[in-house]
């Protein structure tokens, strides 16, 4: 009797075992990678390759987009907006607060400022270029893969792919430039060339030419703060290189995401108004 019982229970166990192993293995998704995802998407985390994980929605808080140098408040261009349209005071983000313009270039900067906002590429919804895209009053998202790093900016759907492989040369000049990146320890270093010199640095008319060369350094200081330093070099505009330095903050809302700000429609009247059949006065 005992032998029968043992036999039967062994047989039953065997059937159960065999039937379980014969079911499609897809049903048993590997548990380990799911844990890996939880780990890498967590706070202060690293990517599986050991590099800092820069994934997330980031944004700068401050007035650099108004003026990268420190400044007092000022009235805005449209009195109809009252205090809403006024320019806030701000701490500068330029190391040493001085921008080493050549004399002729300084005159151009003043002209730019005098022709603000009409001449500001931002008003025309032109892509902001680097470094301005980093400190626009709009968030951007970093998608860091096991290869390249994508940065998608909410403003004007601007974006750029940072090539982390063998450096590529810019075939032509573009608004967002050609970005080649590599790691120096825990710092992401991005070398940006091929910028077309048509964007400004801010609403104060600071600018450069198509000889602009920007080297960015991204260093995650903590879970939610990343230090951004951009070295600006343009021998036709500046007498020597200079730096912009500012913190970037992780957007902490649950389900933070970048939204869509396709601003061309907001700029069409400004750009084309006088060529309409009934022209804008």
């Amino acid at each position: 009797m005992r032998k029968t019982l043992t036999f039967l229970s062994t047989a039953a166990a065997a059937v159960v075992y065999v039937s379980l192993t014969l079911t499609p293995s897809k049903a048993q998704a590997p548990a380990a990678p799911a844990k890996a995802v939880a780990k890498t998407v967590g706070k202060g985390s690293r990517m599986p390759d050991g590099r800092p994980n820069l994934n997330g929605v980031w944004e700068y808080i401050g007035t650099a987009n108004w003026d990268i140098q420190d400044h007092s408040p000022a009235p805005g261009p449209m009195w109809q907006l009252g205090a809403i349209g006024a320019i806030p005071a701000g701490q500068g983000v330029v190391e040493g607060n001085e921008i080493p313009y050549k004399p002729a270039a300084l005159e151009q900067k003043k002209k730019n400022k005098a022709n603000w906002p009409a001449e500001d590429p931002e008003a025309k919804c032109y892509m902001p270029g680097i470094p301005r895209a980093t400190y626009m009053p709009f968030p951007f998202q970093i998608i860091q893969s096991n290869k390249d790093i994508l940065m998608a900016y909410e403003y004007a759907s601007a974006n750029r792919l940072i090539n982390m492989g063998k450096p590529i040369e810019a075939g032509s000049d573009t608004w967002m430039g050609t970005s080649n990146g590599h790691w120096e320890g825990d710092t992401l270093v991005v070398d940006v060339t091929g910028l077309n010199g048509l964007s400004w640095f801010d609403r104060a008319g600071n600018f450069a030419s198509d000889k602009l060369h920007v080297v960015e350094r991204y260093n995650r200081r903590s879970n939610d703060v990343m230090d951004y330093v951009a070295t600006i070099e343009d021998p036709s505009v500046f007498t020597k290189p200079w730096k912009i330095s500012l913190p970037l903050y992780k957007r902490a809302e649950k389900n933070a995401q970048i939204l869509e700000f396709k601003c061309v429609e907001f700029a069409e009247e400004l750009l084309y108004g006088k060529y309409k059949k009934q022209p804008t006065k």
């Binding site: 059937v15 380990a32 890996a36 892509m127 290869k147």
Partner: protein, 347 residues
């Protein structure tokens, strides 16, 4: 003693039976499931997601029509003869380019020269639309027909290029919409997938779009938030990335080339599926479900080939849109000329 043994045996038998009832059907199914789908399993990224990354341009499909020729009926593939014709056409195009290169007396036209186009590779598929089975876009709803009639009516007595709104969203360099950004056109059909933990991002070359798809199951925003590219949410079904996009701005882009065609409504639900069927092939399908515009859902399917030689370049359209200025100025010049001709006529 015998009673207890008997009970235990019956319990054991019951357990056995129930296990077999559950597992036997699955054992039976496993081989059948395998036979249906491709056996290819893409490599996994370090965080466990299937790796779909790469450059997947739609360039090869340039000559494939969106809608199937009515003569082809429900045929998904062209006949051998039709395929031979497609191959011959491709060779003629290449030959034309060779000839045009040195031709001394090329005709002067008002459009850009032919060598500024990209070319496809002859394909076997009859059309990109695969459902309904006849490969043609379903009928419009009465509401959609009404809107189209109203739009046409509004254009009566309206001259060309009175304002920028007389141009398409594409020519205004605003957007081509989701489907308009992937349906193959004459050039710049660049599509790139970049993945991060918990996300998939899809870049479209024209007009520098980035679709970011969270995979964490978060809800869509409320209908207060609408956009041209909609709001995407993704999840994996096996190795297939399934993307559901809602929150579209309605009555703007259509589901045609470059976002043309009948504008879809704000209620459209777009379901896309990306499945890597081999190391260098991706099956892409998109099901358009918009009961306000089409009487039934319809599906587009595209086989996309991995092409590392097709990097995306910046397409900063708006920033270089001299054409918009020129079209408006051109229309004003025409109007002035017509006015002056009328005056001269009256004298």
């Amino acid at each position: 003693m015998r009673q207890r043994v008997l009970t235990s045996l019956m319990v054991l038998a019951a357990v056995l039976a129930s296990v077999l009832l559950v597992t036997l059907p699955m054992i039976g199914q496993a081989p059948a499931t395998k036979a249906k789908k491709s056996a290819y399993t893409p490599p996994k990224l370090p965080w466990g997601d299937p790796d779909l990354q790469g450059l997947w341009p739609g360039t090869d499909l340039i000559e494939v029509p969106l809608q199937r020729d009515a003569k082809a009926g429900e045929r998904v593939e062209v006949t051998e003869e039709e395929f031979a014709q497609r191959q011959a056409k491709a060779e003629r195009t290449a030959e034309n380019d060779r000839v045009a290169y040195v031709a001394k007396d090329s005709k002067v036209g008002i459009n850009p020269p032919g060598y500024w186009l990209e070319h496809g590779r002859p394909q076997k598929i009859t059309s990109l639309v695969v459902d309904p089975p006849n490969g043609r876009i379903p009928e419009l709803t009465d509401l959609a027909k009404q809107k189209a009639a109203q739009a046409k009516q509004a254009k009566q007595g309206h001259g060309p290029n009175e304002t920028w709104e007389d141009q398409s969203l594409y020519d205004r360099c605003i957007t081509r919409g989701v489907m308009g950004s992937i349906l193959p056109v004459i050039y710049n059909n660049g599509t790139q997938i970049v993945q991060g933990p918990g996300y998939v991002a899809i870049r479209y070359e024209m007009i520098h779009e980035t679709k970011i798809i969270p995979l964490d199951g978060r809800p869509h925003p409320s209908s207060n938030v609408k956009s041209y590219m909609g709001d995407a949410r993704g999840h994996w079904e096996g190795n297939t990335l399934v993307i559901e996009t809602t929150n579209f701005l309605g009555d703007k882009n259509g589901i045609g080339l470059n976002g043309g065609g009948t504008p879809h409504s704000a209620d459209m639900v777009l379901t896309e599926k990306w499945t890597r069927t081999s190391p260098d092939m991706m099956e892409y399908t998109a099901t358009i479900n918009d009961p306000k515009t089409w009487v039934r859902p319809w599906t587009v399917r595209m086989p996309l080939r991995l092409n590392p030689e097709f990097p995306l370049y910046e397409y900063a359209c708006h920033e270089g849109n001299y054409a918009m200025f020129n079209m408006l100025k051109g229309a004003r010049a025409d109007e002035k000329a017509a006015e002056e001709a009328a005056k001269a006529g009256k004298k």
